[in-house]
Point group: C2
């Protein structure tokens, strides 16, 4: 395993143990068995390292979106969207502590925001991608054309993001994830 | 202003300057002009102090829910739900840095979770309250009884929570908040 991978692994480990604020580059470097100077040769900033942890170590939404895209116009649309919602729940559950730590640190979120703007990307991109897929399903005649695809995508991913967050604060009453996701999708497609 | 209020003010100020992790009780006590021992006489833990900041200094969802409740069965339902969504957006925008800081700190979230369980409350309560209001509107004949009120409440508040979060990471493309909320509500009520 190369130094870069060792640093990312150490960062992920440090974040889960000490939180984003406690996962200092000093601690991460020591855990990775390298100097802080070497860490900064691989990552220009803590923001960049955190982004690498999210993009390279967490189950991404990309494959789940690809699967939806591959099934446009065929197969069981309700089941495909439920599977997508469950993938989104897993992704948001896994990434929210890092995202929360960024939000909670004024300097970190400012740096991260600038980095995302420079790369013309961000956590809103999957919402746009999902809306595009819903529009393709409308063209394929499987979703009512009267449905506002952007609003539906905001609500589907928003509900998953919120539920992932809520479940860290409380034991959620009511149905389990799968039944919950089924009700969300059925409500959108009705 | 009493000591308790001075401490809460100092905590809010420290959080916005240094983030949740950087807002130590030592720093907060100094800013409030009291000793750390006195701070701990008013608040048993940092979790308790953070909860007081959220409950006593941030625009709560309670009044927005009360307003919806007062209008059950009369007035412009679409406009009332749009106003509610905008209030939820403001509330989540204001509270998310604190919530994020809790999530990002393993010890803090564990303590906070235990405290919420003991008090039988949590951030899921407004979702349940909104679902109850939607059901009352169904009984009043203003919302299709086929709508799943729990799913609709999850999606409306989830979309607002997610948007409040996304807007901290990126300048959101697309419509402004009011137009966005109008599309969300119209999609739910269709």
């Amino acid at each position: 395993m190369g130094t870069r991978d060792r640093i990312i692994d150490a960062a992920e480990q440090a974040i889960s143990e000490y939180g984003v604020a406690g996962a200092t580059t000093k601690r991460i470097a020591r855990q990775a068995g390298c100097s802080e100077a070497l860490l900064y040769k691989h990552f220009a900033s803590k923001e960049e390292l955190l982004l690498a942890v999210v993009l390279e170590r967490m189950p991404a939404l990309g494959p789940a979106l690809d699967e939806l895209r591959a099934g446009i116009g065929r197969g069981d649309l309700h089941a495909a969207l439920v599977a997508f919602a469950l993938a989104a729940l897993r992704f948001y559950t896994r990434t929210q502590a890092i995202a929360g730590g960024m939000l909670a640190d004024p300097a970190l979120i400012a740096g991260f925001r600038a980095m995302l703007a420079e790369n013309r990307t961000g956590p809103h991109v999957p919402v746009q991608a999902l809306a595009g897929i819903l529009r393709a399903e409308q063209r394929a005649g499987r979703i009512d054309v009267a449905l506002d695809a952007d609003a539906a995508a905001s609500m589907l991913l928003g509900a998953c993001f919120h539920r992932a967050n809520l479940s860290r604060f409380v034991d959620l009453p009511g149905p389990g994830d799968k039944e919950w996701a089924g009700a969300i999708v059925a409500t959108l497609l009705r």
